[in-house]
């Protein structure tokens, strides 16, 4: 039996960070034009010596890498939080309808012919609106407990999905439809520093709340009743965690469209490595989520001449990975 000690946690965390560092260097090198790590170092230190390389590295690759790390981390943290709060390993950040709400918002903006800023704003508002509706339905049904929230989330997701379907149906197939589908499949191609800066406050806000509550999430994972007996205000903390995770998810959808699987699979990997304690799993999930999306995005832009939409790759990698995790967990149970 592998014992999960604090020592093991520290080693795991630092190794994961080291992997991130190595991946960043590789990601800076890879792409349509290959630069060796030495060239990258030179360009970073003296940008004027190679303006073409400097442009590619600073304006194209660096924002994408930063975006991948932030989005991957945000999705993994949101998934980790939801899985703790809903005591359900199959829950992912979009369970309360965030993703489809955002997609509906973005599709509306695309149909109206708006620019990138309005698209991102509407995507964010759509995501938040979906969660508010989900919470409202649960409130109207007047039942406590997490299952009712999940059910309401499925209802709202279904509704938003229908809305996206309708918008796709009336979209102009030559221009708009393509944009909507592209948005739904996720991509980091349009990321630049200003758009990252625009969502940073939401990412920060969500991350801080989740980090403050990460030990309480460990207690909440033991069940609402147990948490209540420990003097925890279950309803308020659940709401805070849901709000924080919604901010994180909606902010990522603004930047990159819907990217599936990360929020579902990465928290499981973190727990497999470091145990069920959310206090430890959350930071590790954040690092691994960033690492995973960085690798996937680097593949997406290097594998072929064009850009492969991210959800296609995360799906192809995530699905078998999830089966592996389920098998591994079963072995543990026996």
């Amino acid at each position: 039996m592998i014992l999960i000690t604090n020592h093991r946690y520290q080693i795991t965390l630092w190794s994961a960070l080291l992997l991130v560092f190595v991946s960043v260097i590789i990601a800076l090198s890879c792409g349509r034009i290959y630069y060796s790590p030495v060239e990258i170092g030179q360009t970073m230190l003296a940008p004027q010596s190679n303006p073409v390389a400097a442009n590619i590295i600073f304006n194209l690759r660096l924002p994408r890498i930063l975006g991948a790390l932030l989005i991957g981390a945000a999705l993994a943290m949101a998934g980790c939080a939801f899985q703790s709060v809903f005591h359900n390993p199959l829950v992912s950040p979009d369970i309360l309808g965030v993703s489809y709400g955002s997609a509906a918002g973005a599709a509306t903006a695309i149909l109206l012919g708006s620019g990138i800023w309005l698209t991102q704003t509407l995507a964010f508002l759509g995501g938040v609106l979906a969660v508010v509706l989900t919470l409202l339905i649960a409130r109207i049904l007047n039942q406590r407990g997490t299952l009712i929230l999940v059910l309401a989330g499925i209802v709202i997701s279904g509704f938003m999905q229908a809305l996206v379907g309708l918008l796709k149906y009336i979209a102009d197939p030559d221009s708009q439809l393509q944009s909507i589908v592209y948005w739904q499949l996720g991509s980091l191609a349009k990321i630049d520093f200003p758009s990252i800066a625009a969502v940073i406050p939401f990412l920060l806000c969500g991350t801080i709340i989740l980090f403050i509550l990460r030990w309480h999430m460990t207690i909440l994972s033991l069940g609402d009743q147990q948490a209540r007996l420990e003097g925890i205000n279950v309803e308020i903390e659940q709401l805070l965690i849901i709000a924080a995770s919604t901010f994180l998810t909606a902010a990522t959808v603004c930047l990159s469209g819907n990217i599936g699987w990360i929020g579902l699979v990465i928290p499981h990997i973190a727990r497999l490595i470091i145990g069920a304690n959310t206090k430890r799993a959350l930071p590790l999930a954040a690092i691994l989520g960033g690492l995973f999306l960085l690798i996937v995005d680097t593949l997406a832009r290097s594998l072929s001449g064009g850009e492969i939409p991210l959800s296609i790759l995360t799906g192809f990698i995530g699905a078998p990975l999830f089966v592996y995790i389920l098998m591994k967990k079963k072995v543990r149970l026996n």
Partner: protein, 259 residues
């Protein structure tokens, strides 16, 4: 000093008959109170009311003179600790992480367990000879070890009142012995007031305890062991032929079913 005072307590689930009604009793520091009754009669429901998890329709529960509805969650958790019957056998937390959740009532919103809390938990693990399991998953322990760990977790709340729901259920004799001895020690040495439920009358006969008999009509009869632990009363409550017999070697009575 009166730790717990229950006055005229009645509870029913929505649109059902009362589970219990007009329950009255009060407990002093270091007193043990054993609630006996057949399965499904509402013992756990009564405990849930006492911990504040369920709200009774009638009556009041006061802890050290304060009504529990007026106390905030943290305050209540510093005074009352509860070990439910269905503890978390599937928890994948390690033993130490599981134990530390018991320190939550003493930590603020922004805090996580500190060195002091770790030391406290580790001290208990050493006292109970369970220290070697510190970093093992809780789910990997045996039933008896898990029960002890859940009680330690409750003790980490430093409660004045400890409520144990069927702590001896599903345990072998040596573990039952251990838990009964622990209950006695906690009450006498640490002056913790303890409420426990059991479906074996013998457990009540082993402990120096006040008795509550909960019958299927929802009436809780409270009294001393001599008053209530009689063949007639127990036959009435359990509705099976049984008898109490004095065992000289044990210097106490034992309760046996007539078969």
């Amino acid at each position: 000093m009166i730790v717990l005072d229950v006055h005229n307590l009645s509870f029913s689930y929505p649109k059902r008959q009362f589970v219990f009604h007009h329950v009255n009793f009060s407990l002093k520091t270091g007193e043990i109170f054993t609630i006996l009754g057949p399965n499904g009669v509402g013992k756990s429901t009564l405990l849930h009311c006492l911990t504040g998890l369920l709200s009774p329709q009638q009556g009041t529960i006061t802890v050290f003179g304060n009504e529990i509805t007026a106390l905030n969650g943290k305050n209540l958790a510093q005074q009352i600790a509860y070990v439910p019957q269905d503890y978390h056998i599937n928890s994948n937390l390690t033993v130490i992480d599981y134990l530390l959740t018991g320190r939550a009532p003493y930590l603020s919103f922004f805090q996580t367990p500190k060195k002091k809390d770790f030391k406290m938990a580790e001290k208990y693990l050493q006292d109970f000879q369970l220290f070697q399991f510190r970093d093992h998953p809780f789910a990997a322990l045996s039933g008896g070890q898990q029960q002890l760990i859940t009680i330690i977790r409750a003790l980490l709340q430093q409660p004045k009142l400890l409520i144990l729901d069927e702590p001896m259920a599903a345990l072998d004799l040596s573990r039952q012995y251990e838990i009964l001895k622990l209950v006695k020690r906690l009450a006498h040495q640490e002056k913790i007031t303890i409420i426990l439920t059991t479906h074996l009358p013998d457990h009540a006969l082993m402990l120096p305890t006040k008795i509550g008999l909960l019958d299927s009509n929802g009436t809780l009869t409270v009294g001393s062991r001599d008053q209530l632990m009689t063949t007639e009363r127990l036959t009435e409550v359990y509705q099976v032929p049984l008898t109490l017999a004095y065992v000289p070697a044990l210097q106490r009575y034992t309760c046996q079913i007539k078969l």
